[in-house]
């Protein structure tokens, strides 16, 4: 998991930080998004969580929108260029919001998946419900990343609306403010993804199978013991 989050992190980093040579962008966002796409693919293959799959879809649409924006920039007529660039930017930022939300919410759910290896840093914790060890950390991390997913979506939603309306009317002060806010959100997202990378680093083999499988099945409200779980038995 940690390796995949690293890939996602660098992909997102390159969408945030643009390296230009004069007016030429050396690594346009759509290429960086393909890196994110690859990272999300890895996360999906490990966790089998649909959120990562949805995040991949948003990632792909965002990359296509960015690419079409580039194509529109090459179109001569003012109408095509201006409208094309505006709409593609709008679609791009909306999809980026979707990507962020599903990446974080998928990551939050990943902490509840029973058969993922656990990090050493999760051991020896106790949460408010009295659970100790890895399962306590699972609770906390789920709540933390799910909460951040919602928060980042709300902020991103406000930024998007401001950016789209500001672009339509060229309200420069508003544009500067929302662009600054958008940049902060992206940095925030990088910090969160880096945190996810760290959380999954130093993985341990699955801990107490009974506890982990119980946690993994909370979403369905069912308690599944290790004895009943053939996968854990095999492992």
């Amino acid at each position: 998991m940690s390796e995949k989050y690293k890939v996602v992190f660098w992909g997102l980093f390159l969408t945030t930080v643009h390296i230009n040579l004069g007016s030429i962008q050396l690594l346009p966002p759509f290429i960086a998004l393909l890196i994110v796409y690859a990272g999300l693919g890895g996360l999906f293959s490990i966790s089998d969580l649909n959120e990562f799959k949805t995040a991949r879809t948003f990632c792909l649409i965002a990359a296509a929108a960015n690419l079409s924006g580039w194509a529109a920039a090459l179109v001569g007529p003012v109408l095509g260029r201006q409208l094309g660039e505006g709409l593609s930017s709008g679609v791009y930022i909306i999809c980026e919001m979707g990507l962020f939300y599903f990446l974080l919410t998928g990551s939050a759910r990943a902490f509840l998946v029973p058969d993922l290896p656990r990090s050493a840093s999760w051991a020896g914790r106790e949460n408010s419900t009295g659970h100790a060890g890895p399962e306590a950390a699972m609770d906390e991390k789920f709540v933390f990343y799910q909460g951040r997913a919602v928060l980042i979506t709300v902020v991103f939603g406000i930024v998007n609306v401001g950016l789209i309306i500001g672009s339509a009317l060229y309200l420069e002060t508003l544009l500067w403010l929302v662009m600054l806010a958008g940049f902060i959100v992206q940095i925030w997202m990088l910090v969160l993804v880096h945190g996810l990378d760290k959380a999954w680093r130093a993985e341990l083999p699955p801990g107490d199978p009974a506890v982990i499988s119980e946690m993994g099945n909370r979403m369905d409200g069912e308690v599944q013991t290790a004895e009943k779980d053939p996968e854990f038995e095999e492992r």
Binding site: G22, S23, A73, V78, L79, R81, Q82, L83, E85, G86, L87, G90, V91, I93, I94, M97, G98, Y101, T105, R109, L112, T129, D139, F142, V143, Q146, A149, V150, T153, V154, F156, G157, N160, V161, I164, I165, S167, A168, L169, Y170, L171, E172, E214, N217, R218, M219, D220, G221, E222, V223
Partner: protein, 343 residues
């Protein structure tokens, strides 16, 4: 006991599972709301784009009172030759076109889309196509760069940009043959080969005043950026205010006021001013409503005085003007453009 304890744990786990599921559902709803709001904003963007899109530039209305260039004084004996004795002024070239002292130059302004890379290349006025102007658009923009690294042309004004074109009358003919000319319709050619007809307002090109002895010159003049100003002079003879010669004040309807020593100019007609007394003419120009805010008014009205012998004395007010192209904001630019399109 163990069974009861197991049931309790199961209940607790079920509850927590439900809590997590509820949290995820809430998150999903918030996401959908933000997604819908962003998508709605994008639809509004598209609608606004088409509503505000300018398929052709809008030239602001120019109400300018200009003078043709003044021809150098012709020497009867040495027409077309250098007259070294009087400073070397060549009064007339071989082609019959006189040499002019001051060129006629002014600026024309228009609003267009910010991404419009065309520039004005030629302007031909329908009323006097024989007048040749050199149109030189200012292509220097602000520091702001567009995404592709190109600088913007003109000064951004909300959705649009304000462009300015330096117009210089080419001295290719003897303008004295034309008399006074009024220009209002122009055919504008752009650098990409497109052209359009534009309503330019009203440009009066007058022959230069010949008898400068009748001019009254102010001793002190002041003008402020808020549109107020004054010109004052000491009467060198007994004068009576005879009225106002307005060239384009009608176009500036409702925007100006002129006072002579505190009296409205209409009330001052017939009033006498003794020799040695200070005559102070104060004026004020208001910022017009958004529908006229980008227009240019340079009316140069003349105050007419008469001396005891009935000889006319003229005093031109050079600072009674309003230059709007940079006075408006993005919202007033939209209002202005929509008002002009509705005409």
């Amino acid at each position: 006991m163990e069974e009861q304890e197991g049931d309790g744990i199961m209940m607790e786990e079920k509850k927590r599972g439900r809590d997590f599921a509820r949290e995820m559902t809430r998150g999903r709803r918030i996401f959908l709301f933000c997604f819908a709001a962003s998508a709605a904003a994008l639809v509004i963007y598209g609608a606004l784009f088409f509503y505000l899109y300018l398929d052709r530039p809008v030239f602001v209305r120019h109400y300018l009172d200009l003078e043709f260039p003044e021809a150098a004084a012709a020497e009867d004996s040495a027409e077309g030759e250098l007259d070294g004795d009087v400073g070397g002024i060549e009064s007339e070239a071989d082609d019959g076109v006189p040499n002019y002292i001051h060129p006629l130059e002014f600026r024309m302004y228009y609003l267009t889309e910010r991404f419009d890379r065309r520039i004005v290349s030629t302007v031909i006025f329908e009323e006097a196509p024989e007048l040749s102007f050199r149109a030189d658009e200012n292509t220097g923009g602000p520091w702001f760069f567009m995404d592709n690294g190109e600088t913007e042309i003109g000064i951004p004004c909300g959705r649009y940009s304000v462009r300015s074109v330096n117009m210089s009358l080419l001295e290719t003919m003897d303008f004295r043959e034309l008399g006074d000319v009024t220009l209002s319709r122009a055919r504008v050619l752009f650098s990409d080969g497109t052209e359009m007809n534009a309503d330019m307002g009203k440009l009066i090109l007058r022959q230069p005043e010949e008898n400068s002895a009748e001019q009254l010159h102010s001793d002190r003049a002041e003008a402020s950026s808020d549109g107020t100003g004054s010109e004052s002079f000491v009467a060198s003879e007994n004068l009576r205010f005879a009225g106002l010669e307005e060239r384009m004040l009608a176009e500036m309807n409702g925007l100006w006021s002129i006072r002579i020593n505190g009296d409205e100019y209409t009330e001052a007609v017939g009033k006498e001013y003794e020799m040695g007394k200070l005559i102070k003419v104060s004026f004020a120009v208001q910022v017009p409503e958004a529908e006229r805010r980008f227009d240019i008014y340079d009316a140069r009205p003349c105050l007419l005085f008469e001396n005891e012998h009935g000889r006319q004395r003229r005093m031109e007010l050079n600072n009674l003007n309003y230059y709007g192209p940079y006075a408006g904001d993005g919202v007033s630019a939209v209002k202005y453009v929509k008002a002009r399109e509705a005409e």
